[in-house]
């Protein structure tokens, strides 16, 4: 297999103009925030430099190892487990039309349950330890991945299926997984945002560490700049994960029409 070819770069505006476009509005917004918060002296709206200082003091110490990394670890573990389960179950269900017809209403029902209500339920069943939090993430992330895998496998191209059978090409890897991968990636993308929500919520409920717990702690103690720094950190995590996901998606789906420039 050859390496995916770099898409030819579109001739665009010069670098300076592009930079101005990308940074102009964010800089303006931060300046506006600065101006408003500095003049209004609102207790709830600290100036950006206060928040930046609080950010450095709060998160660049022991909290990275104590709160941030364990949270991310649980997210990763739950997400990975949900992906394996979702794809592993989705392929056989998608291949068997009768099983699919029987399973779909049940799956749709589970997907329709707002994932956060699973937190109190799973707390009942599994206590309040790390396993519970991972289980919560799995139970929320599973359904979008599973349903999208089923749908992707169902919609496989029939001509391709017959061709593969004719030539005896390994069906699972080259036909089923590959053919369903655009749909599977859609499910994985939906599951990622559900996973982040559940990571935060499961820690807000019953926990003594973790990102969600720490942010609520700041809010209850009226440590406003620290609380804002926590919101900022969650935002940065959400942003970074979505950039990472897009990078992975481009590598996995480089062959697909939607990624061919």
């Amino acid at each position: 297999m050859t390496e995916p070819q770099q898409a030819p770069r579109r001739p665009g505006a010069p670098l300076g103009v592009r930079l101005a476009r990308a940074l102009g509005l964010p800089v303006l917004l931060v300046l506006a925030w600065w101006a408003v918060s500095a003049t209004a002296r609102n207790f709830y709206a600290p100036t950006p430099d206060t928040v930046a200082r609080a950010f450095a003091e709060t998160w660049f110490g022991h909290r990275i190892a104590d709160d941030v990394l364990p949270s991310l670890g649980r997210l990763l573990a739950g997400y990975a487990l949900a992906a394996v389960l979702g794809i592993g179950l989705g392929v056989p269900v998608g291949l068997a039309p009768r099983l699919r017809a029987a399973a779909e209403p049940v799956l749709e029902f589970f997907r329709a349950i707002p994932p956060p209500v699973l937190v109190p339920l799973i707390m009942l069943l599994a206590g309040i330890d790390t396993a519970m939090k991972i289980l919560v993430i799995v139970s929320g992330c599973l359904w979008p991945i599973l349903l999208n895998t089923v749908e992707g496998v169902r919609a496989l191209d029939e001509v391709l299926t017959d061709t593969c059978r004719m030539y005896g090409i390994g069906r699972l890897r080259h036909l089923i997984i590959r053919g369903a991968s655009p749909q599977i990636m859609t499910g994985l993308r939906q599951a990622l945002s559900v996973g982040i929500i559940l990571m935060v919520i499961s820690e807000m409920f019953a926990s003594s560490s973790g990102l969600g717990f720490t942010i609520v702690l700041f809010q209850r103690g009226f440590q406003i700049p620290e609380m804002w720094s926590g919101i900022l950190l969650l935002g940065l995590i959400g942003f970074t994960l979505s950039v990472l996901f897009r990078w992975v998606e481009r590598r996995v789906l480089f062959w697909h029409w939607s990624h061919r420039a």
Partner: protein
């Protein structure tokens, strides 16, 4: 089509049977997982109480107002950004940064500003569903057929005519997709705000039932939220089908 329905029904029956058998056979402590019949019985009993309907009303009010505000704002802003030249490039980085921020990050802020009230619910619901709709509107406006756009320009159609008869019909399928995604997310966030912050509604009822150890009630309410989730989804799909009855993607689905 008919057999699909029966298979689906059979699937649900199997689920109920398993949920009934597992606690009855002692595989899981019935205190933590009551049999399905007890859960459904509890749901029936709850549905007869006015408190449940009041809570349901609160949840749907937060959902409805939040979704309406987010949808209107996102469509208006999306059209302005999509149509005014240069605005899209200038806002792209900001939108791409704000969009993936998980709305639950705003929970502490909502708690401080509004406490356990409708305001908290609205803040979370609006933030979460706004981006879903906005992104779809931006895709929709960008999908404009260049020949149609050039034709409109050649005929010197006014800007309002162009929006009304060219941009709006092009973007409408995307707008409806955005509404569907936004409606689901708005419902999730409405329940979340009630559950975590304690604004009145079904989420608060779940939290109260859980902390008082009424396990069957927790299960019954969770089942109810699932049913409402399905109803929300079906309702928006129905609306989508009506609004887009003229569109090829919907027309094609109806057998001649």
């Amino acid at each position: 089509m008919v057999s699909r329905f029966w298979y689906g029904l059979a699937g649900l029956a199997v689920l109920l049977a398993v949920m009934e058998a597992v606690p009855r056979l002692g595989l899981v402590d019935p205190r933590f997982l009551p049999p399905a019949s007890r859960i459904l019985g509890e749901l029936g009993a709850l549905l007869a109480t006015p408190e449940l309907w009041a809570a349901l009303g609160e949840t749907m009010r937060g959902w409805g107002i939040g979704l309406a505000v987010a949808f209107t704002a996102a469509v208006a802003i999306g059209f302005v950004i999509g149509i005014v030249p240069g605005l899209r490039a200038a806002t792209h980085s900001t939108i791409e940064f704000l969009r993936p921020i998980p709305s639950v990050a705003l929970i502490p802020l909502a708690t401080l500003l509004f406490g356990a009230s409708l305001g908290s619910t609205l803040l979370l619901v609006i933030y979460a569903s706004f981006w879903q709709v906005l992104i779809q509107v931006l895709y929709g406006v960008a999908d404009l057929d260049t020949v149609a756009a050039d034709t409109a320009r050649a005929y010197r159609l006014g800007w309002w005519t162009r929006i009304r008869h060219l941009v709006w019909p092009t973007a409408l399928p995307y707008v409806m997709t955005g509404l569907r995604l936004g409606a689901t997310v708005a419902f999730i966030l409405a329940i979340t705000a009630e559950l975590v912050i304690g604004s009145p509604g079904l989420g608060l009822e779940i939290q109260l039932a859980q902390s008082s150890g009424a396990v069957t009630t927790v299960y019954a309410l969770v089942v109810l939220t699932g049913l409402i989730g399905i109803a929300v989804n079906l309702g928006v799909r129905l609306l989508e089908r009506r609004v887009l009855a003229w569109h090829p993607s919907v027309r094609g689905e109806v057998p001649a």
